[in-house]
Symmetry: C3
Subunit: 158 residues, 3 copies
């Protein structure tokens, strides 16, 4: 594979969880707490629906260049509640071994218009139903990419 | 696990299905009919793309409080056709054992703008390609949440 | 099953891949190249997050009728960068056996507004993290649907 363009690792399926998060709960905090309790290291969201409020997410300023920096990532805070259309992303440990979430949210306003971005955190409104899939893999960590300016997946040489 | 904030159940992988739904078909009705025919009880949408028309979905009024009630969930009807960006959600039996769909739709208008919400139903326009994943689990039902005002997952004590 | 409305095939799980695509890479081209290198025939995107620029996607003109034709599918090009909220769709071989991608993108502008459509191609901006799931199945191809006017899944008689 052309390592200038793409890196990959084959991963094995671990456990699968069906989760309901209760009203008033901070979603990202609670998912990270869940990962600690069930000793989960690598995982991805298969499905997440429900509703959220006090949603904070960041986007990227039009015209921004690499490496991206904080001031080029405007933060939006929407009081809501919003319909949670989905979450997409993964849980992967960082260099210290602590599990870190990289989640993007997409959600709808009362008008039906969809908004979204890199999820900072959100509070569950009426309910949140999640299917989470664990993956078994060695040597995959989240590290800072100097070129991109963001934290992303790194694959240790095998 | 802090049961005030999150409940969960480990689930086992069942069958996987690749599905094409034909033009003119009511999507939610047909998925529920499919679940009956193949005797499917718990499942989640992994992937759904295509196009839809006569789309009905509901959202949540800004500022709404719990428990949420019908008048706080405005219904949108869009004639379309819309590009179907995805469906996210699950099939789970209700208290009578009948399989019930909780699906959120996200779709794009001609302008590229995305809209979405809790899917009531939609008609397939040109095609709809779905990957559906069955899960094997006991004691998970959709019941009404008095606190949230919506139907959501309940996990029977084990 | 009512073959007028829905066709399906049970599929078996194959390999799973965790992928990082590097800045400046054309996403669809690279995924198809990846499929060739690892000899992957049928697959679906489980999760994709990151950021993209020079995004091209098509939508469907409001009021369009079947069979849909090119002039009824306006193409949007957004310079971005955009936050990549997700990709949804599948890789399936066409009639010549060449793997073909049917992917829909949803992404957010600096303002938080979400846009999307049928992905033509996009360039990875800071990073792109993908979970890809291979499926093992015989007799499923992408062919042109005369009725719909689009290429979609066809299931060979068994």
């Amino acid at each position: 594979m052309n390592v200038d363009k793409l890196s990959y690792r084959e991963i094995r399926q671990g456990r699968r969880f069906m989760i309901r998060v209760l009203p008033g709960t901070r979603l990202v905090d609670e998912l990270l707490q869940f990962a600690r309790v069930v000793d989960l290291h690598h995982a991805a969201i298969v499905s997440a629906v429900g509703s959220v409020r006090a949603v904070e997410f960041s986007d990227i300023q039009a015209g921004a260049r690499l490496p991206i920096t904080g001031p080029r990532m405007p933060v939006h805070r929407i009081e809501g509640p919003l319909d949670l259309l989905g979450l997409e992303g993964n849980l992967v440990p960082n260099e210290t071994g602590k599990v870190d979430a990289h989640l993007h949210i997409f959600a709808a306003k009362s008008s039906g218009e969809a908004v979204g971005g890199h999820l900072i955190d959100a509070e569950v409104f009426a309910t949140c139903e999640i299917i989470l899939s664990e993956y078994i893999v060695e040597g995959v960590e989240r590290q800072h990419s100097t070129r991109g300016g963001v934290d992303t997946l790194f694959f240790e040489d095998q």
